[in-house]
């Protein structure tokens, strides 16, 4: 079994001389291959029009909008509290983080002080939600590159997170848990003990299962190491964020660089950065983020203060006039809500959402150009986009 370092040092020339087919003078015909919108490996309803020359992709045109539900317009038709529920729908794999951005935008306009306990609860559910998202990614990426076992293992762990969330707020997905000035419910009795026990199991599963079955797997290494390399300057130029940016060696994490909530106080908060920039580095970044999330949640449980879990706003709360842009480090990258309130209406005047997946998807044509068709799925999978957030 060869390790990652060995694969990186493999000589360029293969040991066996393969016969070269002379194609000078032959005309190759371009083939246009339509991938999607219903395709198991595009992780949703993305459509890619690939222009192929032989097995090489010479051009890739992503076609989006198959899941455009008009969320931003719906925000304008719903009250502030109803909008939280719709923010869930954007990145439907890590719902809590969208809610955090939406609630945070309201708090920034109205200048609401969130109680300390609420901030701790928020960070705990945020990190668990991030874990749930990365687990779905890890499982489906395993399926993409031909491994079925990680999918079963990851969903096993994700079910436990969803069970915890269900106990907390009554729903497995689309939680509707955040409120301006805090969260809806406090932890039920015994919930934190359950969470601690789960974290022990989960940490063990990461080290013993996921890392062992994938990082030491030669097929997985061959499919990911050196595939889809994004240099740091290109990553910045394309406006990437989240694990895709940190997998290219740029230490940019909103939890540290544009701090919100209680993240600056946490000692265990160290961003996961890997410099290689290939699909394997992005895999390592996300696995490291899962470990980081466990450390953060443990620290929050240890320091959890008492008090209220929601600021007192009165029965009829009206958002004052103003505008704000609030960003959260989502599971895919920077999730931001730009909200304008006119101070009169019960609805936001405008709520624009910055979906991290949409901006991360921009690099797909650049990344797929000149690659083999077989690598397309491995590269797309490593980008971890969710079409709900791309199309909104």
């Amino acid at each position: 079994m060869s390790t990652e370092a060995e694969i990186r040092q493999l000589p360029e020339t293969p040991l066996i001389e393969l016969p070269v087919i002379e194609d000078e003078g032959l005309e190759t015909e371009e083939l246009i291959l339509n991938m999607g919108p219903q395709h198991p490996s595009t992780h949703g309803v993305l459509r890619l029009v690939l222009k192929l020359s032989g097995e090489k992709v010479i051009e890739c045109i992503p076609v989006m909008g198959y899941l455009h539900r008009g969320l931003e317009k719906i925000f304008e038709w719903r009250t502030y509290h109803q909008g939280i529920r719709y923010a869930d729908q954007a990145d439907y794999v890590s719902n809590m983080l969208n809610e955090h951005a939406y609630a945070g935008a309201m708090e920034a306009i109205a200048d609401i002080d969130v109680p300390r306990r609420a901030e701790y609860i928020r960070v705990i559910v945020d990190e668990l939600s991030r874990c749930a998202s990365h687990l779905v990614w890890l499982g489906t990426y395993g399926l993409d590159v031909g491994a079925t076992t990680p999918f079963l293992w990851c969903l096993r762990d994700r079910e436990e997170i969803l069970d915890l969330f269900e106990e907390l707020c009554g729903s497995r997905m689309n939680f509707n848990y955040y409120r301006p000035g805090g969260v809806l419910y406090d932890f039920p009795p015994g919930w934190l003990n359950k969470l601690e026990r789960y974290l022990d199991r989960y940490a063990q599963h990461i080290e013993e299962d996921y890392v062992r079955v994938l990082e030491g797997n030669e097929i997985f290494l061959e499919r990911t190491v050196g595939v889809g390399v994004i240099p740091a300057d290109v990553a910045i130029a394309y406006g990437l964020s989240g694990p895709m940016l940190r997998g290219s060696g740029v230490a940019w994490d909103l939890r540290v660089d544009r701090p919100y909530s209680i993240y600056p106080e946490l000692k265990s908060m160290t961003p996961a950065v890997f410099p290689e920039g290939d699909a394997f580095a992005r895999f390592k970044t996300r696995v490291q983020e899962m470990r980081l999330a466990i450390a953060i949640v443990r620290e929050c449980i240890a320091n959890l203060p008492g008090g209220a879990m929601r600021a007192r706003l009165g029965h009829v709360w009206k958002c004052p006039k103003g505008e704000s842009y609030y960003t959260v480090e989502g599971a895919k990258g920077e999730v931001g809500i730009y909200m304008i309130s006119d101070g009169r209406s019960p609805n936001p005047f405008r709520a624009k959402m910055r979906g991290a997946s949409f901006h991360n998807l921009q690099i797909a044509p650049w990344l797929l150009k000149g690659r083999l068709v077989a690598d397309t799925v491995a590269i797309l999978g490593s980008m971890d986009f969710v079409l709900g957030e791309v199309d909104r």
């Binding site: 919108p37 219903q38 539900r69 439907y92 969903l155 079409l387 709900g388």
Partner: protein, 196 residues
């Protein structure tokens, strides 16, 4: 290649005389062509303790179809994640024979429309439905696919997938729990058994 002929035997090793067996079990009909009232059919059926079931071909086919409907994984939005969870290890859908999610409509029996169908997606959905071989069924999973759901006033979504394709089972919920989807598959099974 010649087929080796083996004499059929019962469990006790006694060879079966097929002709006699068939004659013995053939339902005695009246002159009207129907089973008579003093149940010779039943007696004939119970005469031997072998496993023998009388049914019609249609019933048999429906029963066989209902046991393992292969779904076309038509994951569109949030419900797709719950559909994955249903097929996953915890809520094992393969207990009911419906875990073989096909990516090609030509190999699928039932289309699970999981998620919001937009106006842009609707023609593709219809085309995939038409590509599925008969007999085919549709499960509308979630509120969006059933009736438009919480996007009832959105300018870009379809108000229920039944405006495009005929739907057999509606599974409510936003998104439905994996147990609810399993229940939907079981309801579809009942429907197929009845010949629907």
């Amino acid at each position: 290649m010649a087929i080796e002929e083996r004499p059929a035997k019962t469990a006790k090793g006694v060879p079966i005389d097929f002709e006699e067996d068939v004659i013995q079990r053939r339902p005695v009909t009246t002159q009207a062509g129907l089973g008579s009232e003093d149940v010779p059919t039943r007696q004939a059926a119970l005469a031997n303790d072998d496993n023998m079931v009388f049914t019609t071909v249609a019933n048999l086919v429906n029963w066989a179809r209902s046991r393992s409907p292969w779904p076309l994984g038509y994951g569109l939005a949030c419900c797709a994640i719950e559909m994955m969870a249903t097929a996953g290890p915890h809520h094992d859908l393969s207990r009911f024979g419906a875990e073989v999610f096909r990516s090609s409509p030509r190999q699928a029996d039932v289309m699970i429309v999981a998620g919001t169908v937009t106006h842009k997606m609707a023609p593709r959905l219809r085309r995939l439905y038409e590509q599925m071989p008969e007999p085919k069924w549709v499960i509308a999973m979630g509120n969006c696919a059933s009736s438009g759901g919480e996007f009832w006033d959105s300018y870009s979504t379809l108000q229920g997938v039944d405006t495009v394709v005929p739907v057999d089972v509606y599974v409510p919920g936003c998104p439905p729990r994996p147990e609810a989807l399993t229940e939907g598959v079981l309801r579809l099974r009942e429907k197929i058994t009845r010949g629907g």
